[in-house]
Amino acid sequence: MQLFSSWTGSDFLLFYMVLLATCGAASWFIAHRLRPQGRFGESHEPEDIALLAGGSGRLADSVLADLFARGALALALGAKGKLAVAQATVPASPAGRTLLAVREPFDPDEANRMLALHTTRVVARLRREGLLMRPEDHARLRWLAIAPFIVLILIGLYRERAGSALGEPTGYLVILLVVTALLAVVRFVRVDPRTAAGIAAVNGLRRQSARLRRAPQPGEAGMAVALFGTTVLVGTPWEPVHAMRHPNSSEGGTSSDSGGSSSDSGSGCGGGGCGGCGG
């Protein structure tokens, strides 16, 4: 007896699409439930958090934002879209010192490449701390996450072969099989490499640091970008770092100079030197 032999083509396509949706949910559920717990530590270095929250590109952005906000980097004169070292003596992390040692102007992608070795070290440290999965655990979770899609593809291939043997049209089914295969590849590539503890660490810090998303201080720019990406720099004096990453972004353009007023409290300034604030 052949499976699905009594089903029409359209019946099977409908069944297949329901299964495809089920497979998507099952894939998410598997990755969620079978993710290693890891260890809930106290890794709050901006570079660690940047890599956990956004990968190696985010780590480079975080370092650039930190150095730019503290005046160590500035826009390169005569080299559009590039940064140059302005003050090499500013205290910096090992990754920051790597960039401060560069003599030529560089863009964020070049910075990312220059920090590759450092990124590898951070990845190794996060794996030791239980915030990133070990490679074998990550590979296992990837295969488990796409297992439902593989089963579905096998079912679809079986039906396609049977339909072809009977001379039935199978074009729509082939399209669905290709879509399923593409979804499986995307899912395989995008399975989150973090442990449950790593995800919780980032989410917890995001909740605690909501203020950084609105207006970080210069010393907080690195952590703000680590947690939320360069978008948090829009509207700040360090927006050029965001513009380099997103040159066509519709955000930004904070050229308005009419938006401020401030207080001048006599008691708060000390020494009586606060006159002339206007009003």
């Binding site: 207006a215 201080q217 509207g235 409290s265 708060g268 009003g279």
Partner: protein, 181 residues
Amino acid sequence: MSAFDSQLWQRIAAHTIGPQDAALSFSARLARENRWSPAYAEAVIGEYMRFCYLAITAGNEVTPSDAVDQAWHLHLTYSRDYWQVFCPAVLGADLHHGPTAGGPVERARYYHQYADTLAAYEAAFGEAPPRLIWPDAHRRFAVDPFGVRVNLRNAILLPRRVALALGFLAFVVGWLAGRIM
């Protein structure tokens, strides 16, 4: 000691702006002039009070959000209350309002002050400022300054999305009418 336990905060929290028996209270006027709900206007006044606390205690100049600034502007127009009661008896110091002189240097200065104000708020009150009243820097310095005073007896206001949708709809209807006729 938290900000809430300080005598300064107790005095600020106990202060009512404007005559209590006025038909149009300070809160109602603030809501009317900004087309805010009464509840939102009350919330803004609460944040203005916190801002005033920070202005006295932060040790540096502080910059309000646009909403808090509107409350401050209106309070300044209640000049007897502001200069003869609020500043001397409640704050214990003159609190001057200083608008920006314009230009990129001032722009950066006000950003830093705004960021410092949010940090001081969090340190003093143990929580982040409410996002609806203290927005992000982009909103504060690139969007909110475009607010203008409009008399609704003379103009019709539409949200930009609605206006664009209506324009698109008119274009489609016109095109279809041209095809049919």
